[in-house]
Symmetry: C2
Subunit: 516 residues, 2 copies
């Protein structure tokens, strides 16, 4: 057998000993090897390399044809210097006061803070004591109470219970916690949309469950094809997979589309018929760009609205279908990714199962307190009449307007490029354009390099422009074998939208010329 | 089959439908059912109930014979109102400034902050941009650089590399990440000390690996019995378990003891001989109460010191043995549990395996930024000459002195109780006394109630005094079958140590009388 690696990048393992390392790729958890996560992968590492070259002023020396990296691969709104969305002032005022309560004792300093920020900080501290202490494993009581109130208001008064709400490290942390309980073995199937945010496929790989793909229809604004979903369940079950759950991302990631009420009702009816636990990833619920045509409908509300049906069979759905809804502070207009805050709400879950989820939350101790503070601010923003309200309203509106106008401007630019099509910007922080009709020479070059055409295209884009996107195959949406068309995802967060559009357009046209 | 549960504590599932819930205790991940975590279990829930009664002023009505709960079950130093260790001022100043950088722009406000706090906040912000942005998946570069410098200074100059350092959500988050890569299947064995912090047994249960216990010797200050450890490896391997790793907690949790240099050397030699990856939980490295007699030796330093041996076989150990060291901001004198900050350092790990660990860190996006800020402050405190230094030094000294004197006072009090023995308070935040010679009637009452004697004792303690401790069996240290003696863990964090000692002593004596 080979001795331990001698790479100098190893954590100090440069010895020439005959000792055989215990941990090698053929001895560790094989499911880890299967995990793929394209949002931070080879492309993103290459972008980091370029950023490093730029930072050291060596762009010319190294022949880089751009002077900045545009990280359009990850929804990280406050990333500097290229995205740089400003934090909401009220959020950070409350956070600072909870960190250093003595600021509230000093009259001069306190006068720099609006009254409602001081009150909110005090209210949180009255409950948690200190942001340096563990909270209750489910999360601080005051935060869960505010979430409950938020959900009830959002969902037209349908009851929510703070005891069924769990604070998490972003939505990702919650998904991992729930999946770890939900999956009992490799025969268990979880339905994931194609295209999908790769957290889901990665988590299923890690827990060695069977992903059961269902397809979103590009021709219909990426709607869920419920009949296709039903066929996918039946087929997987006939192959011995115990399909038990279904992930829905709404608004969509990477698609940026928002599901219609009818589509959601269809999914819920199917979940009831097929006995599927619904996992609703609703982290983009505040990123809605066509509020009239495509408003956000929470799964919880649509589920509980079945209780109003005149048909008893339909009414039963409201209390039958098991639902976990995820939300996060990382997206929306707050974009506070770094705090790692989020929550999930359990609905119609067996209490004995819930006790197990609670136990696992206890082992994890608690979510970060500043993440919890963020969730409190997300679900209970300043309201009209509060001292902070005018500034808060203006900041939120400005961020929203910026996201919406960027989204539309980028969408229009994509749609005007030869061979590129792109659906309307409905929601979330992404666009997912389709590229068709690349010249044959381009396809051959990709083949020669052993790269899928979408990955090849994204590498060409990065190397020519400094723009980092993610190929569709990273979301499970493979290039079309027959036509050669493919997809990629871009965030709509680039501060310099015009610059993005200009760089991208020039790149795409030149690429068509170069490989013609 | 039974219908879904009708408990009113379920998340809304009170319907009378014949629908069979997908998730039931017999369908979910069976390994989750096996997870035990006594630090937050039945006792702690009972303590919460009592706290609720007290908070509503109903102590008399409900017949509670105490007026406050003393949460001695969990190392949560800043928990209010009963522990209430104050945060370090410098930490919170830097944290507040990173949250609200505009505080630094206002001259009047800035004058309230020491220069070095402003500088540190600015240094961190220069690197991360915003504490609301995701950092690099391993953690912010500036923080990893400071950790590297801290480790090198602590370990007598042995090289550390920031690329092998990963920021985590407390040490717990890191343990989970590493275990998920390390464990390939149910035949894999991981050695855990008995007694142990139950995070380890819980994680092994969840990942369905085989715990291989090794025993700490109560008669020898809870030292590791290296020969016994060797026998445990051999025996487990002869039974088909692939023993591949060993967890060591130093200073010990729950034991509060600190390992000697010779003991650590012996463990490392054994790890080399038996091919074991060492997982060194060193979160209490700053909680050392006998710095001369029992100083802290890091596993990394002791491992790398083998390179100085004149014996080539011993020298090889330094680069052969795979080591992961964990540290945290939750303990020490900072006690900042709520931030969820920590890190691990990889040493001698195969680079391809490390790439997998890095990938999994990417899926988790990053550790909370305020946790990372905490780690920065932990590893790079103010130094002599800095404006903050005098206050920082005084605060640290006061907390340290308080912990040490509480620890000694409590230890002496335990040692003076009839039938109770307790080792010296060497380190960590705990004492782990042994109780012997309870009256037969007490043992019988426990048996009648179906409780282990240590759990019975802790319930009696809680119900009589409001003090919440954790029975030894929660740490895998079972009561002695023959003698009936048993252990329990208490933190040394109770603000009112005299009150604790008084309540406890009275309880224990009365218990002996009552059941005599």
């Amino acid at each position: 057998m080979a001795t331990a690696s001698s790479s100098s990048s190893a954590s100090g393992s440069r010895n020439q000993s005959s000792y055989q390392k215990v941990l090698q790729t053929n001895t560790i958890n094989p499911h880890v090897l299967n995990v793929e996560y394209a949002v931070r992968g080879a492309l993103s590492n290459k972008a980091d390399e370029f950023a490093d070259i730029l930072a050291h002023g060596k762009a010319k020396e190294q022949g880089l044809p751009f002077d900045s990296i545009i990280s359009a691969n990850i929804g990280n709104p406050q990333q500097q210097p290229f995205l740089a969305q400003k934090p909401l002032t009220f959020w950070r005022q409350v956070a600072a006061l909870t960190e250093l309560p003595s600021l509230m004792q000093d009259e001069v300093v306190r006068s720099h803070f609006p009254r409602d920020a001081v009150e909110r900080a005090q209210q949180i501290l009255d409950d948690v004591g200190s942001v340096g202490a563990y909270s209750h494993s489910k999360g601080a009581a005051i935060v869960r109470k505010h979430i409950k109130e938020y959900i009830e208001e959002r969902d037209g008064g349908h009851h929510s219970d703070a005891e069924h709400i769990y604070l998490t490290a972003g939505a990702s942390g919650g998904v991992g916690q729930v999946m770890s309980v939900l999956i009992s073995g490799p025969k268990d199937g979880v339905m994931i949309p194609i295209p999908q945010y790769p957290l889901y496929s990665a988590t299923l790989s890690l827990y060695d469950a069977t992903p059961v793909p269902y397809h979103l229809d590009a021709e219909k604004d990426w709607a869920v094809d419920v009949e296709g979903m039903a066929r996918a369940v039946d087929e997987a079950r006939s192959n011995g997979t115990d399909v038990r759950s279904c992930v829905i991302i709404n608004p969509g990631n990477p698609t940026g589309s928002t599901l219609t009420l009818e589509n959601i009702q269809g999914i819920i009816r199917l979940a009831h018929e097929k006995r599927l636990v619904l996992l609703a990833d609703e982290v983009y619920q505040a990123n809605i760009f066509q509020p009239k045509e495509r408003p956000f409908h929470s799964f919880k509300k649509v589920l509980k609205d079945f209780s109003k049906s005149s048909d008893p069979a339909e009414r039963a759905i409201a209390d039958d279908v098991e639902l976990v809804s995820f939300h996060s502070i990382s997206k929306g207009v707050s974009g506070e990714c770094g705090r790692r805050g989020g929550y999930f709400e359990l609905c119609n879950i067996d209490p004995d199962v819930e006790a197990q989820i609670y136990k696992m939350a206890s082992v994890n101790l608690c979510a970060s307190l500043q993440g919890q503070v963020g969730v409190d601010l997300l679900v209970k923003p300043p309201k009209e009449g509060d001292e902070s309200y005018p500034l808060y309203r203006d900041e939120v509106q400005a961020i929203y307007d910026t996201l919406k106008s960027r989204s539309e401007k980028m969408r229009d630019a994509f749609a005007n490029l030869p061979g590129v099509s792109c659906g309307e910007a409905q929601g979330a922080l992404y666009l997912f354009p389709e590229v068709s009709d690349l010249p044959q020479k381009a396809l051959k070059d990709a083949e020669k390099k052993g790269q899928k055409i979408d990955l090849w295209y994204c590498f060409q884009l990065l190397e020519a422009t400094g723009i980092c996107c993610v190929p569709g195959s990273g979301f499970g949406k493979q290039p079309n074998d027959k036509t050669g068309s493919f997809w990629f995802r871009t965030t709509i967060l680039a501060k310099e939208t015009d610059e993005f559009v200009e760089r991208f357009g020039r790149f795409h046209r030149e690429l068509l010329d170069k490989w013609a």
